[in-house]
Symmetry: C2
Subunit: 392 residues, 2 copies
Amino acid sequence: MNQATIALSINAAARREADEPHSLVAPIAAPLALESGSALHGLRIAYQTYGTLNAEKTNAVLVCHALTGDQHVANVHPVTGKLGWWSTMIGPGKPVDTDRFFVICSNVVGGCMGTTGPASTNPETGEPYGLDLPLVTIRDMVDAQAALIDHLGIESLFCVIGGSMGGMQVLQWAARHPDRVFSALPIATAHRHSAQNIAFNEVGRQAITADPDWREGRYLTEGATPRKGLAVARMAAHITYLSEPALQTKFGRSLQDREAHSFGFDADFQIESYLRHQGASFVERFDANSYLYVTRAMDYFDLAADQGGSLASAFRGTKTRFCVVSFTSDWLFPTEGSRQVVHALNAAAANVSFVEIATDKGHDAFLLDVPELFATTKGFLDAAAKVRGLTD
Amino acid sequence: MNQATIALSINAAARREADEPHSLVAPIAAPLALESGSALHGLRIAYQTYGTLNAEKTNAVLVCHALTGDQHVANVHPVTGKLGWWSTMIGPGKPVDTDRFFVICSNVVGGCMGTTGPASTNPETGEPYGLDLPLVTIRDMVDAQAALIDHLGIESLFCVIGGSMGGMQVLQWAARHPDRVFSALPIATAHRHSAQNIAFNEVGRQAITADPDWREGRYLTEGATPRKGLAVARMAAHITYLSEPALQTKFGRSLQDREAHSFGFDADFQIESYLRHQGASFVERFDANSYLYVTRAMDYFDLAADQGGSLASAFRGTKTRFCVVSFTSDWLFPTEGSRQVVHALNAAAANVSFVEIATDKGHDAFLLDVPELFATTKGFLDAAAKVRGLTD
């Protein structure tokens, strides 16, 4: 059975759902035991793959997406029509080279692009879950991905990689399933959410739930959409993804389509026009309740608390090879947070390298054209592949 | 006529209005020519005074308040029942010593504590102005204050002092009325609003105008209040007033009134509970349309643009004595902005000192118990008073 045939059989086994015709969907038969103590029945995981799984099933790379990302990492997005969010990073000849690696990216549980989330149909009622979906955590996201990996017949991942909330999943994978993670690349992330980040998430949630069209979470059943609240949430969050110097350089105090102030409340400034556009386009592709669920998962993430306060304990005895990456101008997930992860890995005698990349692009740098990020990723994967015995 | 009599006669001249019975109110007969080109007729300015104006009228200190501040700077606030926002700074024996100085603080035009603002009655319609009030700028706020100072018969202010948007007014006073400002103390401010700060203001405005109870600005006429939108605006802004380290120290990931996560959307974390409280209490004392107007005034502020891009030109030939103060952990008005002001003042050969105070309290430091701020203020005022010939 050659590699192409294996990939084909995997694809054939996956079912395409009516509500997510653009992705493969893996139905997970066993209930997912959630961190809250609840269980999620009838879990379905929407995912994309790129490249070909080798015969030994040793070349799989799992990409974990961030808060508002999804599985469409390196293909044209079915809703926006834009290139996938990491098309610069993943593809033939790219740093995560799909000529060598079999790349998997799944929508997180709680998401809204085909994996079970609050907008999915609750089998018990035949209506959308809304807030009846049990709360999910980063650990639950990772356990759902592990079920997908089982479904694909893969025992051990060559690499788990992701930025921001994706990086939280990377750390959680390495801590929870150490034997299934050969290498790990957490980018622009932290082992726990800071008070300031919880605060920004809470503002977003308050903006959504303040919208009367949220209907106490039942908007889908009632035919409404909390567009304005979700747009405000996105606008507030979007500021945190950029750096102050980058905003100053890109927008400064430049006016939008006018020569002078309007002395009113139009979007006089380019930065206002830009933010309004970010809010308006976001509501076309994202579910408001998913925003509540996924931000809450980030708030709850604290890998040290899970280990009685010792982050090093989370990684004790790990054989995983780590590369930790941060960006100098990232104030949402500052370098200090990455450094804490590196210190813990060192304390656990792990194999770890750490790269802080100088850039003014802020937190969003992990999504942007940052050559040093590409070079770091390629170098780390190439070296790990050699150790894993993967041929070029 | 002794000092007490003069103060009394000023107070007697001022009219107390039914809608602001706790403050003095100065009716300004002449229309205020606004920067937009409009004119504001029937302007009324609500203000407080502390201490006694000396016979020479040379000991008056004008305090300029910030975005959500008001004239109740050193007395119990009539709405909240709390001590005035700068009670630590102003009073007998305090850094701004009311045993020596006659302190004036007026509510800004566009505000909502008695000075003409969007909630005031439009004399043309008999209804609240709402968005029919012409837009006002920092320059307009200062010109309104100048009219009040005229009304009080004061030719030259001994000092103009304020933080944040109050500091913008201080700079505008020094630039626009240099002969009327003997000394100036701008704190935690900048000569223009940054792209990031405009962005945060825009999020707040979008939150307010997204609230259906805003009613396109006519909520007062229609008996509604956009409480939820205004609360979200306040919550988002409040994060920017604090520093990340202070949030981490004060709240971290501590839970509120519980031992474990609720796995829901209650305010599990103390930071969430704190923010919700900030939002809820703010709407009890502030008008949503005023929030739109006053944030817009901050966005428009650019003292260099008014001078063809040269900030130094704004201060050319000034005889005012300046003391510029910034705080290390203030990321809303970082030290860099204060440094730009100092460089411009140096280029204008002004008399200027500059103090950057080390603190983790963030932007809010100007309102808090920061001994170095008190010492700096007292030292600067004492030295300036000596030059002015004011006796102790």
